[in-house]
Amino acid sequence: MIMLEKRPQPSRGWTFATPVVAVVLTMFFGGLLFAALGQDPLVTIRTIFLDPLFSEFAWFYRPQLLIKGAPLVLIAIGLSFGFRAGIWNIGAEGQYIVGAICGAAVGLAFYPMESFIIFPLMVIAGASGGLLWAMIPGLLRVRFGTNEILVSLMLVYVAEQLLASMALGALRNPDGMGFPGSRNLSQYESAANLEIIAGSGMHWGVLTAFLAVIVAYVALSRHIFGFNVRLSGQSPRAARFAGVNPGLLVLICMAISGALAGLAGLFEVAGPAGQISIDFNVGYGFTAIIVAFLGRLHPVGILLAGGLMALTYIGGEIAQSNLGLPIAAIQILQGMLLFFLLAVDVLTNYRITWARKIA
């Protein structure tokens, strides 16, 4: 009979191997799914995972990898602090939206003035917007013991309604002939999140994402704060004896994830998306949860996982236009990836043994 035996220490080898195994399993079962949808599985898998990088049009898709990956990495880095400490902010989508609204509002307030100070102000507004939105579940948990999972998630739906109201009302383009949606920020030079190197996809958000990876790495592995975060996740009681203030830790983790999600929203609205519109958010806040887990809550891992997720987004779009694959199939693929990761993870903490049944 197959039995699981708890390892005294999580296996280091499997910690690194599980994401790879999960990806391979996802490709296999994804192939079965595509075959069931009447597609050639090998062609579809190649289209999704390889064509964005190596096809003849790859010059067009490679910059997209940075553009789609940056918000995912930025949000996932923020989430990883909280997830390590057992603080579940799953409303990053809402913080992303509010960050974008606040940042865009500041930019639009200055229109049509041109000044170098506008974009930095927008960045600050975006980060603060996301931070404050994340403070709601944070403060409610610390003050009233309210479940932060549910509150942060409820606030996603509130933020979506707020976004609709802004796109139709306060932030609507006065020259837009009544159509919903704000002025295009990417065409307003002082507020635009421009590419640092033209044609590379490398905009300020991408740079910030790379910076966030480095800072998070240092903070988690070299700083007392990272130690406290990890300690609180593994043993809350020990953390209290070590002098960690649990309430403060909740607030700091929520603040980090909220601010980074807000930044991601701001860079998106001022760059690739260009404007506040009703369908501005595309679920980066939720996909980032998968990215955070797939990257093992480790900054470098998150960077790689963010790249892979961005790949599935771009590959999914190619497969949709070239093969007619429904975009929902990609969503299933992403969900499957998280399932397989969680399933294979058992090998990190447990050893499979063959045991004879004891009387």
Binding site: T146, Q331, G335, F339, A343
Partner: protein
Amino acid sequence: MDLSSINPVLLLASLMVAATPILLAAIGELVVERAGVLNLGVEGMMITGAVCGFVVAVATTSPWLGFLGAAIGGALLSLIFGFLTQFLLSNQVATGLALTLFGLGLSALMGQGYIGIKAPEFPDWYIPLLGDIPVIGPVIFQHDPMVYVGLAIVGGVWAFLKYSRAGLILRAVGENHEAAHALGYHVVRVRMLAIMFGGACAGLGGAYLSLVRVPQWTEGMTAGAGWIALAIVVFASWRPGRLLLGAYLFGGVTVLQLNLQAAGAAIGVEYLSMAPYLATIAVLVIMRAGRAPGSLGQSFHASR
């Protein structure tokens, strides 16, 4: 704004209908959590139930078979969660989230050819005598059968947990799985059954949206109803009686908000649409939750 256009009798009558999907999903999750498992995938199971129910009902033109299909669909999806958390001991919070993301994708794929189709008619029950009572009749006794099925499930769960031996075992497993295991109960088996019951109920709740309340299939139509159901379980302190109160309170806010929209309130439609979510947060803050089941959210691994 024309407040007189809001008919209080109709408002109260539609309250029960608005509360039913949440009530169904929440009573399932209540059983799951009483068994010590936190399944955050309610939203995913609900939307899968919504699409399964709709597809079956359209194919067979029978809403009843639709509801059956929805329950089976929800239960099958919940098996993934059960297998991962009970046998592979994965983190329940993360697995529940994965179930929701997966369910949203799966339902979108399954429902592709069904957008814009109308669901088969599901007529209200006309209960003679009781339905004729003024005010109370239309409010309580003139609904479709699923409203009463939902109430019956809540009553059944209450009696099951309070009076039956199996209910006692389920509670024991949820309070202290080590002790229940030591007494010789099959912790994993009990939990798997509870998880499947939760999945079936969530499926029914979802199908109620797509077959009765809307009645159409649109992508992402549950719009957070599964999460609100989770919140109501906390609000109810894991007790079926208070669950009923919570679901009707929520139904009331939803209906009032819709009525205010229709009456042309001075507040924007978007802000009124926020009301159910804000009300849920307010309720979570104001109500001190009772004590959660002792083993809630913990993995069980029987060491030799």
